[in-house]
């Protein structure tokens, strides 16, 4: 994937980050501090004196049909990784209760962020439906995750419209809107392209827009992106659980 900064967007601001990698990379999340652990690959193997390792290996190979020596296999993210995670661009917008909400309000939690509009019949409800399943899949961990939708149609998407739309999915999903300029600024910061399209629909103009969901970690870093239709709720849950470790 090559999400270039969009040349047709007025260049008032540059996006704060480079696009994520096309495919997910391996991240070795288990630093190998102990030699024994490195050789045997088991978490508790660091307690085995190195000289007894050959004995342990023989016994292990005889008995261990169940022991998966893959206990420290590096986790492979289902989403798209950002090569060089930067601080997620801040914003302050208006939520469905007319409150001013800033990204920094959620520091310490994971934030899922996507840009859509309420008249969108396809990608946006698909994302929100996945989020609903994701929230369930996370179980207890859902307390550490915030779900935020920012509109790319501020002219039609008032706070009431956002609230009503999100109520179809989950009472705690946050819907943000603002002035046209505020929305344009945050979209540019996040490298999100959007444009009105008059295609002769009876529903009025449609909005073509970037459909990635961004994942901001508990340190406020933009770390991952997911595509709608491609990643299932369970796969996103696995990614988030990994980030919460």
């Amino acid at each position: 994937m090559n999400l270039e900064p969009n040349p047709s967007l007025p260049v008032k601001r540059q996006a704060a980050f480079a696009p994520p990698l096309k495919s997910s990379s391996h991240i070795n999340i288990h630093g190998s501090r102990h030699l024994s652990r490195r050789i045997l690959g088991c978490r508790w193997a660091s307690h085995i004196p190195v000289r007894l390792i050959p004995v342990a290996v023989v016994i292990a190979s005889i008995l261990a049909s169940g022991c998966t020596l893959l206990a420290t296999k590096p986790y492979v993210f289902n989403g798209l990784l950002f090569d060089d995670p930067v601080a997620a661009p801040g914003f302050t917008l208006t939520d469905q209760n007319f409150q001013q909400v800033s990204l920094r309000d959620f520091h310490g939690q994971i934030v899922l962020l996507f840009f859509g509009f309420t008249n969108c019949p396809d990608a946006c409800p698909a994302t929100l439906g996945t989020w609903k399943q994701l929230e369930r899949a996370l179980g207890e961990n859902s307390h550490h995750v915030r779900f935020i939708m920012i509109t790319v149609d501020p002219e039609r998407d008032t706070p009431e419209r956002m609230g009503k739309h999100l109520s179809l999915f989950h009472p705690e999903f946050i819907g943000l809107t603002g002035s046209v300029e505020e929305i344009e600024d945050v979209a540019q910061d996040y490298n999100v392209f959007f444009e009105k399209a008059n295609v002769g629909s009876a529903s009025g103009y449609l909005v073509n827009h970037t459909t990635l969901t961004y994942v901001i970690d508990t340190d406020g870093k933009l770390v991952l992106a997911h595509r709608p239709y491609e990643t299932k709720a369970k796969e996103i849950a696995d990614d988030l659980e990994q980030l919460l470790k």
Partner: protein, 168 residues
């Protein structure tokens, strides 16, 4: 040593958490006269050589829009074309085509409708095509059914009820 090794072998097995999303049972609560054939996910209706499968609609509020998805299977030797659809519960139904370019979603009316090739099928599914119901005149809720008439180029009209389902 053996005991220690066995204990460690037991610890080696990575713990797996079973976090299956609860897919939820779809509640079927017909709320109108069921004289038209119905579909629910996993079932199919026939219209001549055509089979209409897995039709479902998104819940939505009155005055808003919704989307209907379905699979059209053509067992005939002649290609068919879905040229339109109508419903009494919305002002207009439009066939839309969705395409993704560099993660930007583009949506536009499907000019000429959707072709269902002979001995083939077409999926009206998220990210591909959908029937957009514009300006609903009532709320449509998860578990209910909505009437829909499909218009085909060769085989004419087909009336059906489509189930409204919340989850993907």
């Amino acid at each position: 040593m053996l005991i220690v090794t066995l204990t460690m072998l037991a610890s080696c097995t990575p713990s797996t958490t079973n976090t299956h999303a609860n897919s939820g049972a779809m509640v079927v609560r017909p709320d109108r006269d069921m004289s038209e054939p119905r579909t629910a996910l996993g079932s199919a209706l026939s219209h001549g050589e055509l089979h209409i499968q897995d039709a479902w609609a998104r819940p939505a509020f009155r005055r808003d829009n919704s989307a209907v998805y379905l699979t059209l299977r053509n067992n005939g030797i002649q290609a068919e074309r879905l040229v339109g659809a109508t419903t009494k519960i919305a002002a207009v139904v439009e066939i839309h085509e969705v395409s993704m370019q560099d993660d930007v979603m583009h949506m536009r009316p499907a000019i000429g409708g959707v072709v269902i090739p002979a001995n083939g099928h077409v999926d009206l599914s998220p990210g591909r095509y959908h029937l957009m119901l514009v300006d609903l005149n009532l709320d449509i809720k998860d578990g209910s059914y909505i009437p829909l008439t499909l218009h085909f180029q060769h085989s004419g009209e087909f009336h059906m009820n489509v189930s409204v389902v919340q989850a993907e």
